[in-house]
């Protein structure tokens, strides 16, 4: 039971990261390999804000994602834009290179042992929920990520902007013809997706150390989440993210050795039975 709850916390990170990947993939057709590195950047920006500017946790929750989002916008404008005409695989490789650069730079500057980041005072302490002691901060993480996921879903599925986005995915030329500035929309989407990753990074900062390699392995799991959920599907990535966190938590109880493998086993199964993913459209 308590492992379930922990799974849900992990799941909220999976969900936020895979959500960002999904909207980027949906519109840009780009697998953003730099997502893990940008998640790490989010955490580091929060840490740097505290260290160098004495800006605390709460403002960082807004500033860090915005800063990283802007950085993402710059990346998209400067590099990714040039690659839309060639095979999408090149974009994958380009973001992979970017991930190496970002991670290498941070590692050079801050080493790889990680920097501590304190839990904000208001969220110190824990609730005793009977079957376990739930630290307040972890409860907060679940809450924030649910809100963030719901907000993103609402924007893409229920607003006019979202309908442009979805239409742009289907047929960019036609949408362009209707007078919508598709390139700008693409840039903003990339910024938004990256911002979500950074938000997840800030949320993770007090739970673990802020570490240059923190995104490195997480990103691969998140890829699996996206594949299972169906590439580009918003709802799919949210639901799968949380669900896989829980499944992983359950495996930890019954067969801890397999807890990391189970996601990839599921991925293989899903691909065999339903290659487009659980919530994906057929190609």
């Amino acid at each position: 039971m308590s492992q379930l709850l922990l799974g849900l916390i992990n799941g909220s990170f999976y969900a936020m990261l895979s959500l960002g990947l999904a909207i980027i993939f949906g519109l840009l057709n780009v697998i953003n390999f730099a997502h893990g590195a940008l998640y790490m950047m989010g955490a580091f920006v929060a840490w740097m804000l505290l260290q160098y500017c004495k800006v605390g946790y709460w403002p960082s929750l807004i500033i860090a994602p915005a800063a990283v989002g802007l950085f993402g916008v710059a990346l998209e404008r400067a590099l990714l834009k040039r690659l839309y005409k060639v095979d999408p695989l090149y974009n994958l490789l380009c973001t992979f290179g970017l991930a190496l650069i970002i991670q290498g730079l941070f590692q050079m500057q801050y080493g790889s042992s990680g920097m501590p980041y304190q839990i904000p005072d208001a969220l110190q302490g824990s609730y005793d929920v009977g079957f376990m002691v739930l630290p307040k901060y972890r409860a907060w993480v679940i809450g924030v990520s649910l809100v963030a996921c719901f907000a993103t879903w609402y924007v893409t599925e229920r607003t006019r902007l979202g309908s442009y986005l979805r239409a742009g995915t289907e047929n960019p030329t036609l949408v362009q013809a209707f007078g919508v500035n598709v390139p700008r929309m693409i840039t903003l989407t990339y910024g938004l997706g990256v911002g979500l990753a950074a938000l997840a990074g800030v949320l993770a900062a007090p739970m673990t150390n802020v570490n240059p390699t923190m995104g490195e392995d997480l990103i691969i799991v998140v890829f699996a989440v996206v594949v299972i959920g169906g590439m580009g599907s918003i709802m799919g990535s949210i639901v799968t993210g949380f669900a896989l966190g829980v499944i992983e938590g359950l495996t930890k109880v019954f067969y801890p050795e397999a807890s990391k493998t189970v996601i990839f086993v599921l991925m293989a199964l899903v691909l065999l039975v339903k290659p487009q993913g659980l919530f994906g459209r057929t190609q």
Partner: protein
């Protein structure tokens, strides 16, 4: 073999035979293993157009298998390498059978997923030694009497394996089978409509690539007398993409050049620490943006030669 390729190949072989007198042999042997690994990878991406982002699983699985066979079962080195190669080939069959159903990015993701599965298996399984890896693997005696602890003999052994693997790839690429593969890369529906069972071709190419990657992995385990998790990590899969991309996709000699350059970077810039990662990343970005044909591709284009 056209005369030009014979000349190229002769020069390459000459350099490789002379190299250990100038360069640290252990480094060279590692570079040869990675060159073979990259050539095997290139067979897929360069000639079938499939980007596998999990090729390290074949390198690592074969490494673990060969190391285990040599250390625990005490078999001779050539059998250990063969066993490793066979394991990689079998793994290649299973993964390939599942993965070739999809193309492009999906294919890359699926191979990556399988590679992670293998990674966690190697992390958790008892015989792989977790974070320790399999250490102190004996090099043993080749066919019973050639002592591979002698650096010259070991180098000869590795060079022979590399040359065999390289020639096999060369032969495959320039055979009718290879031409069908390239037809699939250019236009799969057309190849299908011409009556080729493209899935069969893709699966065979995938298995061949996996097997040769395994050959490289098994040999590498003996060279370093160690197999560790680094060999199965996804970063290694990324590295082989970098080697191939930098050398030139779909050029026979490209991956060899790429592998040597990347390893030389890592080896000689190691005192710079994390700069190596940054430089590798920058090379990736530059290659992708401006230099998609790679070194040998660009060079070949400039000289109008099939390098």
């Amino acid at each position: 073999m056209p005369r030009f390729h014979v000349v190229t190949f002769g020069i390459m072989l000459g350099l490789l035979i002379a190299a250990p007198f100038v360069v640290y042999p252990v480094f060279l042997m590692n570079a040869l293993c990675f060159a073979l690994f990259a050539c095997a990878f290139n067979l897929l991406i360069g000639y079938v157009g499939l980007l596998s982002f999990g090729h390290a699983m074949f390198l690592g699985a074969a490494g673990y298998a060969a190391a285990h066979a040599a250390k625990v079962w005490g078999v001779s080195p050539e059998l250990a390498v063969l066993f490793g190669t066979a394991v990689a080939g079998a793994l290649g069959f299973v993964v390939g059978w599942l993965a070739i159903r999809r193309q492009g990015i999906y294919f890359a993701m699926i191979t990556l997923g399988f590679a992670q599965m293998i990674y966690f298996f190697c992390l958790r399984a008892k015989f792989t030694g977790g974070e320790d890896g399999i250490q102190a693997v004996p090099r043993g005696h080749l066919v019973g009497f050639i002592d591979l602890d002698n650096p010259a003999a070991m180098y000869g052994f590795v060079l022979a394996i590399f040359v065999l693997g390289f020639l096999l790839i060369y032969r495959t690429v320039h055979s009718p089978f290879g031409h069908v593969l390239q037809a699939i890369r250019e236009n799969e529906p057309r190849a299908t409509s011409l009556g080729y069972k493209t899935d069969h071709y893709k699966l065979i190419a995938f298995m061949l690539s996996a097997t040769l990657a395994g050959l490289a992995g098994g040999t590498k385990a003996l060279v370093n007398q160690l197999t560790s998790l680094t060999d199965v990590r996804w970063q290694t899969s990324g590295e082989v993409v970098l080697m191939t991309l930098m050398g030139g996709l779909g050029r026979v000699t490209g991956p060899v050049v790429g592998a040597f350059i990347v390893l030389a970077l890592e080896h000689y810039l190691a005192p710079l620490g994390e700069w190596v990662t940054v430089i590798k990343g920058a090379i990736f970005v530059v290659c992708v943006l401006a230099f998609r044909k790679g070194i040998m591709g660009t060079l070949g284009g400039a000289l109008k030669l099939p390098l």
